[in-house]
Symmetry: C2
Subunit: 234 residues, 2 copies
């Protein structure tokens, strides 16, 4: 028994905290998320800020706690915590959101869009794969394979999400279709066109699957996952 | 060489994050802090929220990192991180702020005020003493002594702060005198009167000093600290 479950809960908490704070009036000012009223619409802005702060902190409490019967060492647990914290912080998710806020309504180039995507969403996806690798006792080769997969799948996810914002159904997206366009956000389709964006997402999907080669059939769920991510945007 | 310095930096980051978020328009809506414009007044609300999030996360990055030449074990480092995270989270600082926000303009009783004080400010003061104890290699007796000191000194600090809000000079307080009263915040002087509040602060100071007895002269700076905290409110 390893501490994969607490780490998975912690990652979900970090994701939820970032959504609650991103939805705030001072940030993206969203009233709906996954078809339901956002936290600040229901509980007020102060509580939403504090709920995000509490979830962010609780993630680290979980990551630092010894799981019952766990087999990872304290040093490994610290390493997992650090990887996840760096992915969540100013060099990861928060940094991506800062650049995203600053880029709104400005005309930005592709490298900026890629920075936003790889940091705002990609960093936590990558960290979740690396955390799983460490907690699952992966060797260096498997760790490198999962890292490469995480980088490619994370960016593929975001390009697919950008495409869905234009061509998707609201039920697929969980938020208003066209909200990126209305907000003047720079997206892959806006900069590269729909066809080229699709080509890149598919290329990244193939690279992600290629990276998993050393892991054999054990990695089948990850192959299916990145295919699902990219194919749903067709 | 122990990792006291990174831990001290992390605690300062957590304190700063909480001040930045507390000052937000949706929370205490303060324009000045320590005589200077607050973060959101200078950089805007979105950046202030994100700066707080980044500082909160960075604190855990620092606490998880191995300090050069440090002598504490990974297990001890995890314990310090966990104590500090619990003090910062929903059972500590965030929890105190939630109750504080909910109590504004309501008439509240002393146990609620004490809950707010021991959680909003007391928890992090206590955690800093316990973190220092662990990183300094304290035995159980010294750890217990510092815990008791931290509980008493933390509450004494907050009562003294409440008193200064009424009788202090702005330069002493670093914020507007009377701001608690204007905001309808429940304070010790409002509930117990000035004389009884002073008596309690002095009692807590004496209890804090008494708790340090097992530590001998090494604890002299801590005795001076709690005396300074209480005596400046006279």
């Amino acid at each position: 028994m390893t501490s994969v479950l607490p780490a998975a809960c912690a990652l979900e908490m970090l994701h939820t905290y970032s959504l609650i704070h991103d939805d705030l009036p001072a940030m993206d000012d969203d009233d709906y998320r996954r078809g339901r009223l956002t936290n600040h619409k229901v509980f007020g802005e102060a509580t939403a800020i504090l709920a995000g702060d509490a979830l962010l902190t609780q993630a680290f409490i979980l990551l630092a706690a010894e799981a019952p019967g766990e087999s990872v060492s304290a040093a490994e647990r610290l390493r997992v915590l650090q990887i996840i914290a760096i992915a969540a912080g100013s060099l990861g998710m928060v940094g991506g959101q800062v650049v995203d806020m600053e880029s709104e309504t400005k005309s930005v180039e592709l490298p900026i869009v890629e920075y936003i995507h790889t940091h705002k969403t990609g960093a936590l996806i990558l960290a979740s794969l690396q955390a799983g690798a460490i907690l699952g006792g992966a060797d260096n080769r498997a760790f490198a394979a999962l890292t490469r997969y995480g980088e490619c799948a994370g960016l593929a996810f975001q390009i697919a999400d950008d495409i869905l914002d234009i061509v998707g159904e609201q039920s697929q997206l969980g938020k208003d279709v066209g909200s990126d366009v209305h907000r003047g956000k720079a997206t892959y389709p806006a900069l590269l066109g729909l066809a080229e964006s699709r080509r890149r997402a598919e290329e990244l999907r193939d690279l992600a699957i290629e990276a998993l080669a050393p892991l054999g059939t054990k990695a089948e769920p990850l192959r299916a996952l990145v295919s699902f991510i990219v194919d749903r945007s067709r």
